[in-house]
């Protein structure tokens, strides 16, 4: 029982990650794929943050009289990772815009059909 309670949080994160991953793999729409990627990454962030959480601790900004802080290192890592994910999103969407202009569609299958015609 204690394991279930202790790991419940992680399990939800896993479910979220998988939903994100599912969108990325199974969806044919390019924008939605990127949104899925975003969800996937955000879930990973949640995972990181939850592994740095300490029961009874508070945010890692020093104040007098508080001894227990949550883990600042994971926060730092995730700050960096969020920026990376923003960068990826921006670039991915830029490519999508160009694809739309070049192919007139943002559906995976239509693009593949058009490509095959050219070959």
């Amino acid at each position: 029982m204690t394991t279930v309670l202790g790991l419940y949080n992680y399990w939800i994160v896993v479910v979220l990650m998988m939903i994100g991953l599912y969108i990325v793999i199974a969806n044919g729409n390019l924008v939605k794929k990127i949104i899925g990627l975003n969800i996937f990454q955000t879930s990973v962030f949640i995972f990181y943050i939850s592994l740095g959480k300490v029961d009874g601790g508070t945010a890692p900004i020093l104040v007098e009289g508080v001894e227990l802080y949550s883990n600042p290192l994971t926060h730092v890592l995730i700050l960096t990772a969020i920026v990376v994910s923003l960068a990826t999103t921006a670039l991915g969407l830029a490519i999508v815009v160009r694809i739309k202009e070049a192919y007139g569609s943002i559906e995976e299958e239509e693009i593949q059909i058009k490509d095959n015609k050219e070959c």
Binding site: G6, N27, V31, I35, G52, L62, L79, A90
Partner: protein, 325 residues
């Protein structure tokens, strides 16, 4: 937590891309609240402005160009499902040996972190441990982060910038003209708000030592103010106010400022990004170093986000024109 799952499932189900993008925004907000409840205030700050703000805006812009409804495709989700299930099972399997949530004595919370918690105030003199780790102990990672976002900015420029600016400006103008006639109230309120937002960005920038915040968040907020301005008063007006190539150069200046601090510390006898040598007193040196690099981060991020948004937004006119032809 359960909220998040609901939203995520809804995103899978919905076909209307616009709604999906908005739900993604909600997802960002929700995960940010979750971060707050897990004590990660800085992260929540960033996630709120990035996940709910900038990313969503970019997605909306893209969708505005690419059309909003998703076609149902006869995709075979079976393969995807298997992949996802296998990965998920592996992760669940991995969790079985994990220390439980919130465990004080898990390895992650004992080894390296203790030094940050106990000594960082003495060594760096900044109340916000996240800031001191971010800017000093792992300063190089942060430098990498700035470079990543700069790379993205350059990538977007390389992909989306175009030379036929004059003609398209008039096109965009005509779209915008109709826009501001309609939204008089919004415009006036925004006019009041924008200076305030800029001020707030500055506050976040320099308050990062004591509370949540720092260069990155400040940069994003600053950029958000400019974006708001651009959305309401039209791209061409905004372009007149903020020159594109000037913005580019400034982004480069931001990155160089960060790197420059490192090089200066290298020249004055320390290692790269070793702020101790910047002033006679190590702690003062750290303060100076952190201040400067946060400024660098702020400038670079704000400019890059503006670049990205401008390039996306000016494409709207372009692609709608293409549709007409």
């Amino acid at each position: 937590m359960a909220f998040l799952v609901c939203v995520a499932i809804a995103i899978v189900r919905l076909k209307d891309l616009f709604a999906v993008a908005m739900l993604a925004g909600i997802y960002g907000l929700l995960s940010a609240s979750l971060f707050v409840s897990m004590d990660a205030v800085d992260v929540a700050f960033t996630e709120a402005s990035v996940g709910a703000g900038i990313s969503t805006l970019l997605m909306l812009t893209t969708i505005a160009m690419t059309g909003r409804s998703e076609k149902t495709s006869g995709h075979k989700p079976l393969l995807a499902l298997t992949v996802v299930c296998v990965t998920g099972a592996l992760l669940i399997y991995a969790t079985l040996d994990m220390p439980s949530y919130g465990d004080v004595n898990s390895a992650a919370n004992l080894h390296v972190v203790q030094r940050y918690l106990n000594d960082s105030f003495m060594e760096i003199g900044v109340e916000n441990i996240v800031t001191s780790v971010l800017a000093s102990y792992r300063g190089f990672d942060t430098f990498g982060e700035v470079v990543v976002i700069f790379t993205a900015g350059i990538g977007v420029l390389a992909l989306l910038s175009f030379s036929r600016r004059e003609k398209d400006d008039s096109e965009i103008d005509s779209i915008n003209e109709s826009m501001h006639e309609e939204h008089l109230v919004v415009r006036i309120v925004s006019k009041i708000l924008i200076p305030f937002i800029l001020l707030f960005a500055l506050y976040v920038q320099f308050h990062g030592d004591f509370g949540p915040g720092g260069g990155f968040q400040a940069g994003v907020i600053f950029a958000a103010a400019i974006i708001l301005y651009a959305m309401l008063f039209g791209m061409s007006v905004a372009r007149r106010v903020i020159n594109q190539s000037f913005v580019q150069l400034f982004a480069a200046v931001g990155v160089l400022l960060y790197g420059g601090v490192g090089v200066v510390s290298m020249l004055s006898g320390g290692n790269f990004l070793d702020y101790n040598v910047l002033a006679a007193d190590p702690v003062a040196g750290q303060h100076l170093g952190i201040l400067l690099i946060e400024l660098g981060v702020g400038i670079a991020v704000a400019m890059v986000v503006i670049i990205i948004f401008f390039n996306f937004a000016s494409r709207i006119g372009f692609s709608s024109e293409g549709d007409k032809l």
